[in-house]
């Protein structure tokens, strides 16, 4: 019997991989409210966080959870909450606050079938557009996802890193299949993956500190509540000290800053993986659990000599348009594989040179999309019937 | 429930299709008049002990028990 290093290998659920990733990244505070299919994240952290000196709190609802992680983040903690569709909808107002007040935190949405309560236990990927546009007002957002536990661990760490780097809430938009699927996860040793710590201001006590004045590199060093700088945090349009302002110039600059600091960083933030794309004539584009089925199709058809490739997106927002455009160039056709009515499909069409060659293979009935489902669409496109 | 003349005319009818074998009726029958079948479903095992108090009907979480007149079997 072969025995691998049990200490750092675990056979766990995707939701638990998120937990491991968050702990690796330095999670200090979690607030949440149970909801299928995300609950295991809370349950695991209820035990693991205090064991490491962190704190877990079950709040009275999702709104309170989102608010609490913002509050705790301002004291210097890395914070997270997790939910699913209905709870994510409830969090939209406070999520917008985190955007506006530039508070780093991570919000996990383990997607299930919607709209409304839909089906609590089945998979979907239909909150992609909501992640981008769910809160009111012009804004930008980072949303990440993954299809397997190793990636999920890594991308969870990156979610925290990006939250710190860009001072923004980051959405980890996974789905029920990834969340509940168990496979082996190898947890890297400390230091193996980069962990971005909170950038604290070097301005000493007594010197005027500007919590909302970006440095030259665009970053905004923070000062924790309880520290030597007393400033103001608000969801109103505010000046560089954090005080409310109705000056149109202040509003213009702030809103532009909030959008640009993310949208202009598309290339930096884009995470994706190319499988057999180089010589591919047919390109699949997928993400989350559906990317597994897509990869299955690619491997199956490659064996039959079909030149197919897969572009798996780990960053959904800002949409990695450049990667999509580059990978799509010259392909005979592009097939987007997802579990909704075509949310990323529409973005791909906007991004590529040849939108008329973009097709959609999807499911939105709660059943996990299979390689067979994708195969049928491929046959159809190729004029082979179903 | 309709006014009932002769209590002995009542019988405890258990809908095995709805019974989930929770045991509540059996455990809480004041007279021990109920038993279990081989799939642990409740049965009115000792009608003679039964005082037709109706507690089993009131407490069955699965609405599987009815105290009813002998004729009105459904």
């Amino acid at each position: 019997m072969k025995r691998s290093n049990v200490a750092t290998q675990k056979f766990i659920q995707g939701n638990e991989a998120v937990v491991e990733g968050a702990l690796y990244a330095g999670l200090g505070f979690y607030a949440g409210y149970p909801i299928t299919p995300s609950t295991e994240i809370a349950e695991q952290l209820a035990e693991k966080l205090p064991a490491r000196g962190g704190k877990f709190i079950q709040m009275e609802d999702e709104i309170a959870s989102m608010c609490a992680i913002i509050g705790a983040a301002l004291t210097g903690q890395k914070t997270m909450t997790a939910t699913s569709g209905p709870g994510f909808s409830l969090m939209q107002e406070a999520l917008g606050y985190a955007v506006m007040a530039e508070v780093p935190c991570v919000v996990v949405n383990v997607q299930r079938t919607g709209p409304s309560t839909g089906i609590a236990t089945t998979v979907a990927q239909a909150d992609v557009m909501q992640a981008r546009w769910g809160t009111h007002g012009d804004h930008a957002i980072i949303a990440l996802t993954a299809s397997n536990l190793q990636d999920l661990f890594r991308i969870t760490v990156e979610a925290f890193n990006m939250a710190e780097t860009y001072r923004t809430p980051v959405i980890l938009l996974i789905d029920e299949v990834v969340g509940h699927m168990r496979e082996k996860l190898t947890i890297p040793a400390p230091g193996e993956y980069q962990v971005v710590d909170r950038l604290l201001t070097s301005v000493p006590s007594g010197i005027d500190y500007h919590p909302y004045l970006p440095r030259e590199d665009g970053r905004l060093p923070m000062s924790d509540f309880g520290g030597v700088h007393r400033y103001n945090v608000t969801g109103l349009i505010h000046d560089m000290w954090g005080f409310p302002s109705t000056d149109p110039a202040v509003a213009y600059n702030l809103i532009h800053h909030l959008v640009d600091k993310i949208e202009n960083m598309e290339l930096e933030i884009a995470r994706y993986q190319e499988f057999f794309t180089e010589d591919a004539e047919i390109l699949l584009i997928s993400y989350g659990s559906s990317a597994r089925s897509a990869l299955q199709v690619v491997e199956d058809r490659r064996k039959q000599g079909v030149k197919m490739g897969l572009l798996e997106l780990n960053t959904l927002w800002p949409f990695p348009a450049e990667a999509v455009r580059r990978n799509s160039a010259g392909k005979n056709y592009i097939l987007v594989v997802e579990m909704n009515m075509g949310q990323i499909y529409q973005e791909v069409k906007k991004a590529v040179q040849n939108p008329e060659r973009v097709y959609l293979a999807n499911r939105f009935d709660g059943i996990f999309i299979s390689h067979n489902d994708i195969g049928k669409v491929l046959n159809l496109i190729q004029g082979k019937g179903v | 429930m309709e006014a009932i003349k002769d209590k002995k005319n009542l019988q405890v009818v258990i809908n095995a299709g709805w019974c989930k074998s929770c045991g509540i009726c059996i455990d809480l029958c004041p007279k021990g008049a109920l038993g279990r079948d081989n799939r642990d479903k409740a049965v009115w095992q000792y009608p003679d002990k039964c005082i037709r108090c109706g507690l089993c009907e009131l407490r069955c979480p699965d609405l599987a028990i009815t105290l009813q007149e002998a004729e009105e079997e459904e």
Binding site: Q9, A120, M181 | -
Partner: protein, 198 residues
């Protein structure tokens, strides 16, 4: 072995998901294989038919759900009625003889064993029913070693329960072996050969 797929079905309380997890963990952590485990929850927290899939392979596993199972286990009639068809021709269909009246003509080999009753009788506690079932599956497939399963088990349960679980596993292994033996030497040999191939 290249890839083997298992589907455990039953009702919520029977521990089918746990059985699947332990099998997966035994393969992935203790035998260095690839393993993916998924499940289907009913609309109900419990009750209804639960299904847990495990795919074990020497290759990377992409599609994580079982389409045609090499081995299907059914522990309730409802589960059998709902999932009975997903076992592949020539596959193995293991049912509990108390709970399931197997009626379907499948091209799978049907194994009906009194796993529940035996567990209750021999161990006294039906809580380890699922481990006994797992023992049967091991005996009929040898997909991983009982040792690996025990190692996986130990990470999941309190030390005081290890003994009871080992016994249940042994019980299942024995029942499985006995069933194979009952086929007579030639059939058993063939059976053993099939399992190796699958």
């Amino acid at each position: 072995m290249n890839t083997q797929s298992f589907v455990f079905t039953g009702s919520g309380g029977q521990g089918v998901i746990t059985a699947a997890i332990i099998l997966g963990e035994a393969a992935a952590i203790h035998e260095g294989l690839n393993a993916v485990q998924t499940q289907v929850y009913g609309p109900e927290a419990r009750g209804g038919a639960t299904r847990a899939d495990v795919i074990i392979s020497t290759e990377p596993i992409h599609f994580p759900k079982v389409v045609n199972a090499n081995v299907l286990v059914c522990l309730t009639q409802e589960a059998y009625d709902k999932f009975g068809r997903i076992v592949q021709p020539g596959g193995l269909l293991i049912v509990d003889s108390l709970y399931v009246r197997a009626t379907k003509n499948t091209e799978a080999r049907q194994v009906m064993l009194p796993m529940y009753e035996t567990t209750k009788k021999e161990i006294g506690n039906p809580v380890v029913f699922n481990i006994c079932v797992l023992g049967c599956v091991l005996a009929l497939t040898w997909v991983v070693t009982p040792d690996s399963v025990l190692s996986a088990l130990k990470t999941k349960i309190a030390p005081k329960y290890v003994d009871m679980n080992s016994k249940a596993l042994k019980l299942g292994l024995d029942m499985g072996e006995k069933w194979r033996a009952s086929l007579g030497p030639v059939a058993a040999q063939k059976e053993a050969a099939k399992i190796k191939k699958s």
